[in-house]
């Protein structure tokens, strides 16, 4: 056994996983409902015989879940209320309740087996009414006067004296389209035509669902080779067939078709919601402009990413740090934009060198002014010098050296950002004003 691994509780992911499990469970019954936060309920009336009767169905479900790495408690009972309580509170050998056995099955269970709110359970506990059986004996009118109608209705549901509706999950089929050719073809036009049509259909389907895809996969079914999948990843959920095609086309051009393609498949992945495109009449001009700019930038990013690969397109953003090399941060352009940081409290060069370049600097006193800088193989005469601006390291990270920065103008009118490390006394150039 390995060491325990501790993960943060993530209710959103958990709910998604439960939803996926509900889809999975439709193999046992067409009526599967999610029971937040940790349960599924299946209406297996009429299904059990397909699996060899109720006891075998119960075992099958348990075993299949176990194979998925999920520990489970599975019960089958005449009412849903009864099954809920029995699954959670009864020992394994009592988790199969015959018709007519609900009352006996729930009587020894604790009161919370009736799906009661925690406050009601603690009220009951204070009165010594710990078990369902204690509650079955109470005069109903006196109980209702004290605990409201919920207790009675839960009892009735467990005993089958009241109906309970089930809200089954619907299966949302994945968005995918397929076309098979008459026979293997190497005709690029035919393949392209098919892909464009499928893409259009896919986008129509996405639009119907108010959704867009961040991943579009095109699969070429080749006659003598394994299928070839071409993935397109975009920065925001998209469903514009023309745009998607313009990004896909170059990739398709380079595809190796082998002896022929028998069919194509288009699938939309990473589907997310997209709001209806709004007419700009309803928003202010400025906002619309900004939105348009953003959309165009996204399109540019997508085009670049499609050409060079997603991980090669990066975005620079200001970050709040006195340390120049930390005042700009790079991230993948396909990731969401980081929030805007305030500008630096002082003028900063338009171009910061990735690595400070050592330079020979002549200054008569440590605090300046700088007279001459040798940089890039040339000697620069300095005509103006602003500084020093002293920037200390972010001591809580790695200790570094405090530096004195000078903005200096060369005789040719170029401005350089030079710095001296107070620790080593060495000079270097860190940036240039364009």
């Amino acid at each position: 056994m390995g060491a325990a691994r501790i993960e943060r509780h993530d209710p959103v992911r958990e709910r998604a996983a439960l939803r996926a499990l509900a889809q999975w469970a439709t193999r046992f019954s067409p009526l599967v409902a999610i029971d937040e936060p940790d349960g599924l309920r299946l209406d297996v009336a009429g299904c059990a015989h397909l699996f060899g009767g109720e006891p075998r169905l119960r075992r099958t479900v348990e075993r299949r879940l176990e194979r998925l790495g999920i520990a489970s408690r599975v019960a089958i009972a005449p009412t849903y209320g009864c099954a809920w309580g029995v699954a959670r509170f009864a020992p394994p050998e009592r988790r199969l309740v015959e018709p007519g056995g609900a009352r006996d099955a729930i009587a020894p269970l604790p009161a919370r087996a009736l799906r009661l709110p925690e406050s009601l359970v603690s009220d009951l506990d204070a009165l010594g009414l710990h078990r369902v059986g204690d509650l079955l004996d109470l005069p109903r009118s006196a109980a209702t006067a004290r605990f409201g109608p919920e207790l009675s209705s839960r009892l009735d549901q467990a005993l089958g004296q009241a109906f309970e509706l089930i809200d089954p999950v619907r299966r949302e089929p994945p968005v995918a389209r397929e076309r098979l050719f008459q026979g293997p073809t190497t005709q690029t036009e035919a393949i392209e035509h098919a892909v464009r049509e499928l893409l259009a259909e896919t986008c129509r389907e996405l639009s119907r669902r108010d959704a867009g895809a961040q991943l579009v996969s095109v699969e070429l079914i080749r006659s003598d080779l394994p299928p070839l999948t071409i993935d397109l990843r975009v920065s925001r959920p998209a469903r514009d067939p023309r745009r998607l095609w313009s990004l896909l086309a170059p990739k398709l051009e380079r595809a190796h078709l082998g002896f022929g393609v028998e069919g194509v498949r288009v699938r939309a992945g990473d589907v997310g919601r997209v709001r209806h495109e709004q007419s700009s009449r309803w928003t202010s001009d400025e906002r619309a402009d900004r939105e348009a700019l953003r959309r165009e930038a996204a399109e540019l990013i997508d085009t670049l990413a499609a050409r060079f690969g997603g991980d090669r397109v990066r975005r620079a953003a200001l970050a709040e740090s006195h340390r120049p090399e930390r005042a700009v941060r790079w991230s993948s352009a396909l990731e969401p934009e980081p929030p805007e940081a305030p500008p630096a409290p002082a003028d900063r060069p338009t171009a910061l060198l990735d690595r400070p370049v050592p330079a020979d600097v002549l200054a008569l006193t440590p605090d300046g002014p700088v007279h001459r800088v040798r940089f890039g193989g040339r000697e620069h005469e300095i005509v103006r010098c602003v500084g020093p601006e002293r920037l200390a390291p972010e001591w809580w990270r790695r200790a570094g050296s405090t530096r004195d920065y000078f903005a200096v103008a060369t005789s040719e009118g170029r401005w350089l950002w030079v710095a001296r490390s107070l620790e080593t006394g060495r000079w270097f150039v860190h940036g240039i004003w364009a």
Binding site: L127, L129, L138, R146, H322, A346, W395, D404
Partner: protein, 1087 residues
């Protein structure tokens, strides 16, 4: 009594013998005039005295302390500056609402008063901790102030306008403009702009460095403070942090270099400092208020008249000669030193309390005074005690006397409001208490700044002791955090720096400062968090250093308890001689030598008795066996860190038991030490010894005492006095060995020793409470319960103790209980009456104790009183519903009472009462009205509660049970594991000395005495009694979690017997909490 919390950082005034730094002025005349100390909370990163010391080391001409809108740090700086021989410039940075900051410095006494008034104005109109001032407020108070304008970020027309306006107000060249070079992005440009502004406004520039810390090494801490202030982490604080470490004090030459283009600006700083030194805090004259004195009578004459009249009253006309002489001696000294108004102020306050029936009593040094006794300030009879007035008032010390008065803790507020009313808020205010970062709070705040997860922070903080332990690599390592890892190491270092930093000003528990003139001419006054309270900016040490009078009005729970006992007794017909309510004086006067009381005390049967109820006291009592009042004085004093450390206890006990001879080298020494069998136990004895044996004057003896108090911090002065003491004694014909032994003993208890007078004051309360416990156990227990929280024990132990003394105790019941616990007619006695030898009979035949509804958790007092009133008016109720309708209380209150099982008289147990309450609705719902709530339907269907559940619910709802002890329910299981009952430990044959034993019980309290080198004492209780555990440091560390947190412990160890004192030295601890899952936290930890 809890130890005075250890000062995290001693006030400079307490470091009496701080070596004087040799101060040599630098060649360049410079003084830093913009200094933000850590009294500008969460901004400044150094203590005021650190700035002073560093400025002195740099040879600055002076140093200013300019905290934002505050003078809270100036006294410390003043004292430190005097020690260093450096002039201090008192000042303040005014953060104005409508203008840039202005630094101001009073140039004379009246300007200082105006500054204090200005700050008081700004603070009184703002919520606590804030100050609201406008430019025109400053202008109104500007006379005599020197000012430095700190120019705003943008230097526009408005900036020039303000500079020109201020120049007109601060005429006579009193205004300057601050120039600053902090290695910012464009310093030179900015400096040129500021210089231009100064020139346009015709105001001189002054060089400053706007210091936030004294040394660049404090930059990290300053960054952390910035994060704490903004609630951000270091990574997210961004540009809110300073870019570099330049905001420190800099050498004069460095300042001259930085301002090479403006040499006049550097020189200007020294000139301003020179001009500001026209005022020093030494000039503040404190004057006593003159109200308490009737017109036409001098304070001295009035004090004489009242003292003599008091003496006549105290001694009923027969004033002993000794007392008369003491009075004359004291009155002469008081007159000489001009302290009469102080005594009269205290007399006035105490007289007010008496007139309202509030019990009060002076403590501490004041009890050394016959005048105080005669005025009724103290209760220690000078005819019986050995007073040493010089301990209290000393001619040489030139410090005002310090009278601390205890009042009933529940009624102290009345006294405080009286003082405000009588002297007015301009003249009376509470002293501040500087709340500082301690081990836990500092690691919490620093951890957050470093972005540690809440879990990690919590674990780090909780793993520290309550005692203010600082975070250390060891503690962090215990949690699996690598203390050498970057972040954790940084957290540890920064936390340790932060400890001792002030975090806010709070109010002192009861220290009043009262003046004749306006108090806000001396020190700014601000609002306190509590309504109707005002507080000055200085704390107790500041006040002492400034020689200001303070009256401590403290709250003492035992006084409340004694008053309530007397009240209860009056109600059942136990009264004083004249048929009125009993008084402390009466109990003391008539029966001070009641053998039954001493017999009880000697058996350590002292639960609830003042002072001697603690574990340490209880182990001492059977050995000391007090027989008379003076033994109680010794008992109170001896179980203290001082005597324990000084090694005085064992010689004293041996001599008392007669196993060691008592000898005195001379009759004079005999006179001093006879009452403590030749062993010096009190501060006064040390002083007297110095007088009679080494030829000290009384004032010199007081100097010896105060040097003893500082011995542990810096021993120099003490060594000097010690040498004089020893040589003086040898010259007086004593053996060197005796002299040195005396000195060693004095050193030992110097720091923690009690003055005898204080012990005597407390011993009075010990005697009175013991007397009540012995003769009126029911009333005493009721009064204790009604005065909670106080003392060492929880209601469960008080009730248990009362029952063990034969007091019938009756459960809380709506038809019988009031809010308070009360006395009811007891049971008829069938057999013997009380027997002295059998404590279980002492309460028999007396009144019964009815528990009050105040014990019911969650029940509002108002609801309880309404129920009691309804019962009084309408008689007993038969159903809950009728009680509910008649009293009008909420169903929530009824549920609290039901959980407390308080409906027994209606034949309803806890479950059935809850069942009956359940259908009642606070808001009337007509639909539900039809439900017959009183119907008994269903009642029989409710299952009976098992016995253990009843007991646990009793504990949960009332904190105690009259039915059984929770441990009794797991006794079977415990027996199978070889655990014995606590009472079995008492049987010496079954459990001889050094035998092995296992006991189990609920934890009542944990204590770690400061002296016991890491030993923790844990007291546990089972159904047969208590067992005292000693947990040595290594065992404690091994079972740290269990030992600190468990409520139910199983302990295996060795029985240690010393006479009647039995301890179990733990070897192995086990938590049993899981055995009784719902057992709630009942113990009281580490007091």
């Amino acid at each position: 009594m809890p130890e005075e919390p250890q000062k995290l950082r001693p006030h400079p005034a307490r470091r009496r013998d701080a070596s004087l730094a040799r101060f040599t002025p630098a060649l360049v005349g410079y003084a830093e005039l913009s200094v933000t100390s850590n009294f500008t909370f969460l901004r400044g990163a150094s203590h005021p005295e650190e700035f002073v010391e560093r400025a002195a080391a740099f040879g600055h001409r002076a140093v200013a302390i300019t905290d934002t809108n505050s003078l809270a740090g100036v006294v410390r700086a003043h004292v430190a500056a005097k020690n260093a021989g450096l002039p201090l410039v008192v000042g303040c940075r005014l953060a104005l609402q409508d203008a840039p900051d202005v630094l101001v410095y009073p140039a004379d006494r009246s300007a200082y008063a105006r500054l204090c008034n200005l700050l008081t104005l700004g603070k009184r109109r703002a919520p606590k901790g804030e100050c609201r001032l406008d430019l025109h407020d400053l202008i109104d108070h500007s006379e005599g102030l020197l000012a430095i304008l700190c120019p705003s970020r943008t230097l526009d027309e408005r900036a020039l306008e303000i500079a020109r306006g201020l120049r007109r107000v601060f005429d006579d060249d009193r205004l300057s403009i601050a120039a600053f070079r902090g290695y910012g992005p464009s310093d030179a440009e900015r400096l040129a702009q500021v210089a231009a502004l100064a020139e346009h406004a015709n105001v001189p520039l002054v060089a400053t460095n706007h210091a936030l810390y004294h040394h660049p090494d404090r930059r990290p801490l300053q960054d952390v403070l910035t994060c704490i202030r903004h609630g951000l982490t270091l990574d997210s604080a961004g540009y809110r942090l300073e870019a570099n470490a330049e905001r420190c004090l800099k050498p004069s030459e460095e300042m001259a270099r930085l301002f090479a283009e403006h040499p006049a600006a550097v020189a200007r700083s020294a000139q301003i400092a020179e001009r500001a030194s026209g005022f020093s805090l030494d000039e503040l004259r404190y004057e006593y208020p003159d109200e308490p004195c009737p017109p036409g009578l001098s304070p001295d004459a009035y004090l004489r008249r009242e003292s003599l009249a008091g003496a006549e009253r105290r001694y009923r006309g027969a004033v002993p000669e000794r007392v008369r002489a003491a009075l004359e001696h004291e009155l002469a000294l008081i007159e000489e030193l001009g302290y009469a108004p102080y005594f009269l102020t205290c007399y006035d306050i105490v007289s007010f309390a008496r007139s309202r029936g509030i019990l009060c009593q002076g403590r501490g040094g004041a009890a050394n005074s016959a005048v105080c006794f005669c005025l009724g300030l103290t209760e220690v009879d000078p005819a019986r005690a050995h007073l040493l007035f010089e301990r209290f008032v000393s001619r040489e010390r030139r410090e005002p006397p310090d009278i601390d008065i205890d009042f009933e803790h529940e009624r102290r507020e009345e006294v405080l409001q009286y003082v405000y009313e009588r002297y007015g808020r301009e003249r009376a205010a509470l002293t501040a208490e500087v709340i500082s970062y301690r081990g836990r709070s500092s690691v919490r705040e620093v951890g957050k700044a470093f972005g540690l997860t809440p879990d990690a922070i919590d674990a780090l903080a909780k793993n520290l002791d309550h005692w203010g332990e600082a975070i250390s690599p060891k503690r962090a390592g215990e949690l699996g955090l690598d203390p050498r890892g970057g972040v954790i190491r940084q957290v540890i270092e920064r936390s340790r720096e932060l400890i001792g930093f002030p975090r806010h000003l709070s109010q002192h528990v009861g220290g009043f400062v009262i003046t004749r003139g306006r108090l806000c001419d001396l020190v700014p006054i601000e609002n306190a968090a509590m309504e109707d309270r005002t507080v000055i900016e200085w704390d107790k040490d500041d006040i002492d250093a400034m020689g200001m009078l303070k009256v401590d009005c403290l709250g003492l729970g035992m006084l409340t308890c004694i008053r309530k006992s007397f009240e209860l007794l009056e109600g059942v017909g136990v009264r004083g001689e004249r048929g009125d309510r009993l008084s402390i004086a009466e109990v003391m006067g008539e029966e001070q030598d009641d053998d039954a009381v001493y017999a009880m005390v000697s058996r350590a049967d002292t639960v609830g008795v003042f002072q001697i109820e603690s574990r340490a006291q209880m182990t001492m009592l059977p050995r000391l066996r007090p027989r008379e009042f003076y033994d109680l004085v010794i008992e109170v004093a001896i179980v203290r860190p001082g005597p324990l450390q000084g090694g005085m206890v064992h010689p004293y006990l041996r001599r008392r038991e007669g196993s060691e001879p008592v000898d005195y080298p001379s009759p004079e020494v005999r006179e001093v030490l006879e009452r403590t069998l030749g062993v010096p136990l009190f501060q006064e004895q040390a002083m007297q010894l110095a007088i009679v044996a080494a030829g000290f004057t009384p004032d010199e003896a007081d100097g010896l005492r105060s040097s003893m108090a500082a011995w542990r911090k810096r021993g120099n002065a003490m060594v000097q006095y010690g040498r004089r003491l020893v040589s003086g004694m040898i010259a007086g014909g004593y053996e060197r060995e005796f002299a040195e032994r005396c000195f060693e003993q004095l050193k030992g208890f110097s720091e923690y020793g009690f003055p005898e007078s204080h012990a005597a004051s407390f011993a009075i309360l010990v005697y009175v409470s013991a007397w009540l416990k012995r003769h009126h156990p029911a009333a005493f227990a009721a009064a204790l319960l009604n005065s909670q929280p106080m003392g060492f024990y929880q209601p469960a132990q008080i009730v248990r103790d009362a029952r063990e003394h034969g007091v019938p105790v009756r459960a809380v019941d709506v038809n019988a209980s009031g809010w308070d616990c009360s006395l009811e007619p007891g049971e008829e006695l069938l057999g013997d009456r009380q027997a002295d030898h059998d404590p279980a009979t002492w309460g028999a035949g007396g009144p019964a104790l009815r528990l009050g509804m105040r014990l019911v958790k969650g029940l509002p007092e108002d609801d309880a009183r309404r129920i009691a009133l309804a019962v009084r008016e309408r008689g007993r109720f038969r159903t809950i519903e009728s009680l509910w309708r008649a009293s009008g209380v909420s169903t929530r209150a009824l549920r609290c009472l039901a959980r407390a099982d308080a409906f027994g008289s209606m034949g309803l147990d806890r479950r059935r009462a809850l069942w009956q309450i359940k259908p009642l609705r606070d808001e009337s719902l007509p639909l539900f009205e039809s439900v017959d709530a009183t119907s008994e339907e269903g009642l029989q269907r409710l299952p009976e509660a098992p016995a253990a559940e009843r007991v646990l619910h009793d504990y949960g709802a009332v904190g105690l049970s009259l039915r059984a002890h929770p441990v009794s329910f797991i006794r079977d299981r415990l027996e199978r594991r070889g655990v014995v009952r606590a009472e079995a430990l008492r049987d010496e044959r079954a459990q001889p000395h050094r035998s092995k034993a296992a006991v189990a019980g609920m934890v009542l309290c944990r204590q770690r005495p400061g002296t016991a080198s890491g030993v923790v004492f844990i007291t546990i209780e089972d159904e047969t009694g208590i067992a005292n555990l000693v947990v040595w440091r290594d065992v404690f560390e091994r079972y740290r979690r269990v030992a600190r947190l468990s409520n139910l412990l199983l302990v295996r160890g060795t029985v240690e017997r010393a006479g009647e004192v039995i301890h179990v030295h733990a070897r192995h601890l086990e938590a049993l909490d899981a055995e009784i899952p719902t057992l709630v936290s009942l113990g009281r930890d580490f007091r």
